[in-house]
């Protein structure tokens, strides 16, 4: 019988193609193509030196805009949304399509099925999100005095941070999807209800969110404007890098273990 990881690798092979060529690709193209479009607009506006792109008659630098876009679009929107969308669907898609039977009647552990699909999710979203961030970097950062070379280390940190975010959110929602009957609503409430609320409230509650720890790893100064001014206040309580990494690793490991355990124990009754 194949080992847990060999089984997961086989499921990964099957699932990656299915995920990449699914209808979700349209959705992914929307959520990752939009920021690229905005970056393009910003680049054109910078090139034409449009007055609309000045704040209090001061120019906003390319790296600042890039940092802002990584925060607003990716960390606060794309990464959690993709985590909910794909994480909760890892098993649910197969159950809805009634193809789960073919995977569950193979000599591999059910947990390996989940793990294989989770790895496929990581690869699939990584392939789409990370190049989009790089494209934005190349479009926006060189404008208004920014230097591609100087900002490169921060780009690498951003990419690693986004990959980490995808991994942790994906793991948490894989567990939610494996455990609960209606995981989507729960996932949306978590990312658009719970997280913004607890991150904004002073105190220890924010420790029960993923966004709090991801904030601790952001290499940019969070812009002090509009919606993000709230987050600037939050930044005063930001955890250290080591603490963030530690807790994100703990959340990831616990979520993955619970998800594997839930899938191994749960019965999936298919619609006829």
């Amino acid at each position: 019988m194949p080992s847990f990881w060999a089984g997961a690798a086989r499921v990964f092979d099957v699932s990656l193609g299915e995920m990449l060529w699914s209808r979700r690709t349209v959705f992914m193209a929307l959520v990752t193509g939009g920021p690229v479009l905005v970056a393009f607009v910003v680049r054109v506006a910078f090139a034409l030196d449009l007055p609309a792109f000045r704040v209090n008659d001061l120019v906003v630098s390319g790296p600042t805009i890039f940092g802002l876009m990584v925060w607003v679009f990716f960390l606060r929107f794309t990464v959690p949304v993709l985590g909910v969308f794909y994480g909760t669907a890892l098993m649910a898609d197969e159950v809805e399509d009634r193809t789960i039977t073919y995977l569950f009647t193979r000599p591999i552990r059910r947990g390996a099925v989940l793990m294989g699909k989770y790895l496929a999710y990581l690869a699939c979203t990584g392939f789409v999100v990370l190049p989009s961030v790089m494209l934005i970097y190349f479009l926006v950062v060189p404008s208004r005095g920014g230097s591609l070379a100087a900002g490169f280390p921060s780009l690498l940190i951003d990419l690693a941070l986004l990959a980490l975010g995808l991994a942790v959110y994906g793991a948490v929602f894989a567990f939610v999807g494996a455990w609960f009957r209606r995981p989507l609503l729960m996932g949306l409430v978590f990312i658009f209800g719970w997280e913004p609320a607890v991150v904004a409230v002073p105190g220890y509650l924010k420790q029960f969110s993923i966004a709090h720890y991801l904030q601790g790893l952001v290499p940019h100064a969070i812009p002090q404007d509009g919606v993000v001014s709230l987050l600037a206040a939050v930044f005063r309580e930001v955890p250290s890098t080591a603490s963030s990494l530690f807790w994100l690793a703990v959340i990831w490991a616990v979520a993955v273990l619970l998800a594997v355990r839930a899938v191994e124990r749960r019965e999936y009754v298919l619609d006829q």
């Binding site: 086989r10 009634r98 039977t101 569950f104 009647t105 193979r106 000599p107 552990r109 059910r110």
Partner: protein
């Protein structure tokens, strides 16, 4: 030889609905037919036998071991589910290779096994075609192929003939009989008696989540022969077909439906034999589908329940 399947006081309920009620049965080696009307509990029993569901009470032993949470057992077990569900974007060969690969075979060996299985169900020619483009009959056959591609000792087939045309049915019945002769144990579910009868004489009769009878089909046969047997035939030229069929004395009555006929016969064996020959010859146009309503079987169940 170990019985391939043993169920002991097996029950399964979904909330307040009982799917299977205290079933104890020992399935012998060879081909066994699981027969019962829709809703009898056949699919629930098969899902318990294949470890997709956990028994609410009792236990099920497959090849001498409990199946729930025992993935190693799937090395020796092949399952063809009832549902018409696939990864439509994959070709038949890709799909089978991927599934066989999960049994621990290297890619080349997995592909060879996949090709062998596709050949066994006459699908080699369309192996590189996407499953989404397969006809209903081809989809049924590719499902059979995935069940036998890893050469299991025990095959469990849930309604494998559903949606097939008469010629494909005949071929599939022949394959199932052959697999039984090759030493595999095969459990086949159906709600059509004559289909099961053509594969094996050993049957389990289910009704309302219980096993009503098990053993030799001839005993059941005697019971059913007391009742006329209804057969619905969808054909290209129903009137021409009707003329041909009415010439024989075993046809008791015949009614027309849109695109087909419903025949009542006193001798189902002889009737099905003639019908298959007519389908193969094509003299009265194509015969698209043959279906036997449950009524007769239901009458036997009613008789057995009394």
């Amino acid at each position: 030889m170990t019985a391939p399947l043993v169920a002991e006081h097996l029950s399964k309920w979904y909330g307040q609905v009982i799917g299977l009620n205290d079933v104890s049965v020992t399935v012998p080696p060879g081909v066994t037919g699981l027969l019962g009307p829709n809703g009898a509990g056949k699919s629930t029993l098969l899902k318990l036998m294949t470890g997709q569901l956990k028994p609410s009470q009792g236990r099920v032993l497959v090849l001498g071991e409990p199946i729930w949470g025992n993935p190693a057992l799937y090395l020796r077990l092949g399952f063809c589910p009832e549902q018409d569900a696939f990864y439509d974007r994959m070709t038949g060969l890709e799909w089978l290779t991927a599934l066989v690969g999960m049994h621990g075979l290297e890619r080349d060996a997995a592909e060879a096994s996949a090709r062998r299985a596709l050949g066994a169900v006459d699908l080699l020619e369309v192996a590189d075609k996407k499953i989404g483009a397969y006809s209903k009959g081809m989809r049924q056959r590719v499902k059979l192929a995935q069940a036998l591609a890893h050469d299991p000792d025990l095959l469990i087939l849930d309604e494998p003939l559903a949606g097939m045309d008469p010629i494909a049915r005949r071929r599939t019945i022949r394959w199932i009989r052959d697999w039984g002769r090759q030493g595999k144990s095969v459990i086949v579910s159906s709600h059509i008696l004559h289909e099961i009868e053509a594969m094996t004489s050993n049957i389990c009769l289910m009704h309302n989540g219980r096993i009503l009878a098990e053993g030799d089909v001839h005993h059941i046969r005697d019971l059913i022969d007391e009742h006329p047997h209804k057969v619905r035939v969808r054909a290209e030229q129903p009137r021409a077909l009707a003329r041909e069929l009415l010439a024989e004395a075993d046809v008791l009555s015949l009614t027309f439906e849109s695109g087909g006929i419903v025949v009542e016969t006193a001798e189902p064996d002889a009737f099905y034999g003639r019908l298959t020959a007519l389908a193969a010859s094509g003299t009265h146009g194509a015969i698209d589908e043959i279906d036997s309503p449950d009524d007769n079987l239901q009458a036997v169940f009613a008789y057995l329940v009394k």
